[in-house]
């Protein structure tokens, strides 16, 4: 039996690259991340603290015991949550990884040109990213402003670049932190339309604490990106963003906020 070369094989190098990026950005983050020497030290140190703790009475003893246990477990398993939150993988010889990166993809049932047109049109784009206002201030430069809680407003510049089937937005002057958003448009099979693969890389503000917080929120950020993509998809496919409005049940303030963040819902009474 012979096989005809599949459509996947005929994809461009850019698509190949995008797919390997997706796999990289979805790497499991639960493997060992402590180097072998340090594991030994952690195990021994932990055991010593545990012994010290056992010899003491009162809260100090308990605290030493707990710390010792945590260190010993860290040594035995090779997994360190602090390292994880800072993106350190000692086995890969790495230091602190200050970049937060995540990816999401969607398929828009529309031709390439329509999808591209949407992403490069500031008005359309602003319609999808509902918490932002966007003004074009140059050929490839937008001014973006976000409404902050309490009515304040923060504005910064974003530079737009297009190369092949990729569109890239890079934070410029005044941005609260460095970030790049990339979108790769890939033709979807048969009549499915256009795949949109979005990746974000950002250097969060607030030093190590900001970084740790960002990593901790990884899943939430990823989901938020997914919601933004869904908004784009809905606007292109249906001309509106689906919303469930009152009358509905008694939603808590937290749920309302989550609804706004994830579903792009307006506040409901």
């Amino acid at each position: 039996m012979t096989f005809a070369p599949s459509a996947a094989q005929s994809h461009s190098a850019a698509v190949e690259h995008e797919r390997s990026e997706v796999v990289r950005l979805h790497a499991r983050r639960s493997g060992p991340n402590v180097g072998s020497r340090e594991r030994g030290a952690s195990l021994l140190g932990g055991a010593a603290l545990l012994a010290l703790g056992a010899a003491r009475r009162g809260w100090l003893g308990v605290a030493l015991g707990a710390l010792g246990t945590a260190l010993a477990l860290r040594g035995a398993s090779g997994r360190c949550p602090v390292y994880r939150s800072l993106g350190i993988d000692a086995n890969a010889g790495g230091g602190i990884d200050r970049e937060l990166e995540f990816a999401r993809a969607t398929t828009v049932c529309a031709p390439h040109d329509v999808v591209r047109g949407f992403f490069t049109n500031p008005t359309a784009f602003a319609h999808a990213a509902r918490f932002l206002e966007i003004e074009p201030i140059g050929a490839d430069c937008w001014e973006v402003s976000a409404r902050l809680p309490g009515g304040a407003r923060h504005s910064w510049e974003i530079e737009l670049a297009e190369e092949g089937n990729r569109i890239e937005w890079r934070a410029g002057a005044g941005a609260p932190f460095e970030h790049v958003v990339r979108v790769e448009l890939v033709p979807a099979p048969a009549d499915r339309g256009t795949e949109v693969v979005a990746t974000v890389s950002a250097t969060p503000p607030g030093g190590l604490a900001g970084l740790a917080l960002g990593r901790w929120l990884h899943g939430v950020l990823e989901r938020g990106l997914g919601v933004q993509l869904a908004n784009v998809k809905q606007l292109i496919e249906t001309g509106e963003i689906a919303r469930a409005e009152a009358p509905a049940g008694q939603r808590s303030a937290v749920r309302r906020a989550a609804g706004r963040m994830f579903a792009g819902e307006e506040a409901t009474s």
Binding site: C109, R192, T238, A244, A246, P247, G249
Partner: protein, 395 residues
């Protein structure tokens, strides 16, 4: 306006809530003239479906009169009489284009919740938890209908509300369940559950050419109605269902089995297990009818699920399904696909959907209606509720 609101397990209240408004350009507002309680509503009433909030407006089987349309709704006008399908579908996404309307990509504002539970989000559904969109339902005086240019089916005044109301859900649902069975002349179809969905599955199977239909339930009035429409009744508390089905079919087993019961199935060999497992959250659904359907089905046959499952099941005889080469087909009904052809059958007099209705009550008596339907008291098979001001209309 008045609306039926969910307040927790076995508690609904008819309350005053704000009137709905047009939110998106493709919305319409419908003044409800008739609305029904569905077996699916009982899963909410029994609190089997997560993400309900106190005060949520229930109801996904309803019809009425258009009173307001959004600027992008070109095909409806104020005054039109419409039946509204229970899944909300955009009509434009890849799934809608393939007529997989209950899989619409664009109608669940809370897709992120469903994605966490199901991997992907199905269509939004009226009055069916926040997981399914958080839309207010149609057991109310008024309801907002999103994508109103796609779903609502116009019906003229010649037919009564009761004749067409069930196009919104249970008639297409029974129909799709039978269609999944790819019935060939002479086939024997077994149907678990003789509620409204089972009743319509039975009638659809016969219209599609089934040789025999065997109907399984434990309520005499439901079995009697099934018999009236050509099914052979089996009372599952009085008969060993698996043994009887095998030997009623010459040892082969039914060619296809329809589960029209769903996640609250009653009884069975593992019922004590299911009781413990659901209470300890090891499983959320009790798949007893489904287990039997898989075991009963003939080799190479089809098990069709109309019954709703929401979460996880346990002790499912997957080994039997694999080793007997069964085909399992399921889904929330793609109602839009079936509404017009079924309306035509109603107009031609081939289907009369009205004889399943046992109770006609004002919306204000919804709490009582839920209670008797849930407990299968007063020989209740189907309740139709009329909002105030709509009594007797269109009938």
């Amino acid at each position: 306006m008045k609306a039926v609101c969910w307040y927790g397990k076995h508690e609904v209240r008819v309350e005053d809530v704000p009137d709905p408004e047009i939110v998106n350009p493709r919305d319409a507002i419908v003044r409800v003239t008739s609305t029904a309680i569905c077996g699916s509503d009982l899963h909410l009433y029994g609190h089997f479906i997560p993400t309900m909030q106190k005060g949520d407006v229930l109801g996904h089987e309803f019809m009425g009169e258009v009173v307001e349309v959004g600027p992008s709704v070109g095909n409806l006008a104020v005054g039109d009489r419409v039946v509204v399908p229970f899944p909300i579908a955009c009509g434009a996404c890849w799934f809608c284009k393939r007529q997989l309307y209950s899989c619409c990509d664009n109608s669940n504002p809370n897709a992120y919740m469903a994605e966490a539970l199901f991997g992907h989000s199905p269509a939004g559904i009226f009055g069916y938890s926040h997981l399914m969109g958080g839309y207010a339902g149609g057991q109310a005086e008024y309801v907002r209908v999103p994508f109103a240019d796609v779903g609502p089916l116009k019906v003229d005044g010649g037919l009564s509300d009761e004749q067409v109301l069930f196009l919104s859900d249970i008639l297409p649902t029974g129909w799709m369940a039978a269609e999944f069975c790819d019935i060939e002349p002479g086939d024997t179809i077994a149907v678990w559950g003789c509620g409204p969905v089972g009743q319509f599955a039975i009638r659809a199977a016969i219209l599609m050419g089934a040789g025999r239909v065997i109907a399984i339930d434990r309520f005499a009035e439901r079995l009697a109605l099934a018999r009236k429409h050509g099914a052979e009744p089996l009372h599952y508390e009085e008969v060993e269902v698996l043994d009887a089905l095998r030997d009623l079919t010459g040892g082969r087993g039914p060619d296809a089995c329809i589960d029209a019961v769903g996640l609250e199935a009653h009884g069975g060999m593992l019922s004590a297990y299911d009781e413990v497992a659901t209470r300890t959250f090891m499983e959320t659904d009790r798949p007893n009818a489904l287990r039997q359907a898989i075991l009963a089905c003939r080799k190479g046959g089809t098990v069709s699920l109309a019954g709703v499952y929401g979460g996880f099941v346990d002790k499912l005889p997957l080994g039997a399904a694999v080793n007997k080469s069964l085909q399992l087909r399921m889904g929330q009904t793609h109602v839009h696909r079936y509404m017009r052809p079924l309306l035509e059958r109603i107009e031609r007099g081939e289907i009369d959907a009205t004889d399943i209705i046992t109770h006609r009550l004002p919306l204000a008596e919804a709490a009582h209606a839920y209670e008797i339907f849930q407990r299968k008291q007063e020989e209740c098979i189907k309740v139709v509720l009329s909002p105030p001001g709509a009594r007797g209309e269109g009938a």
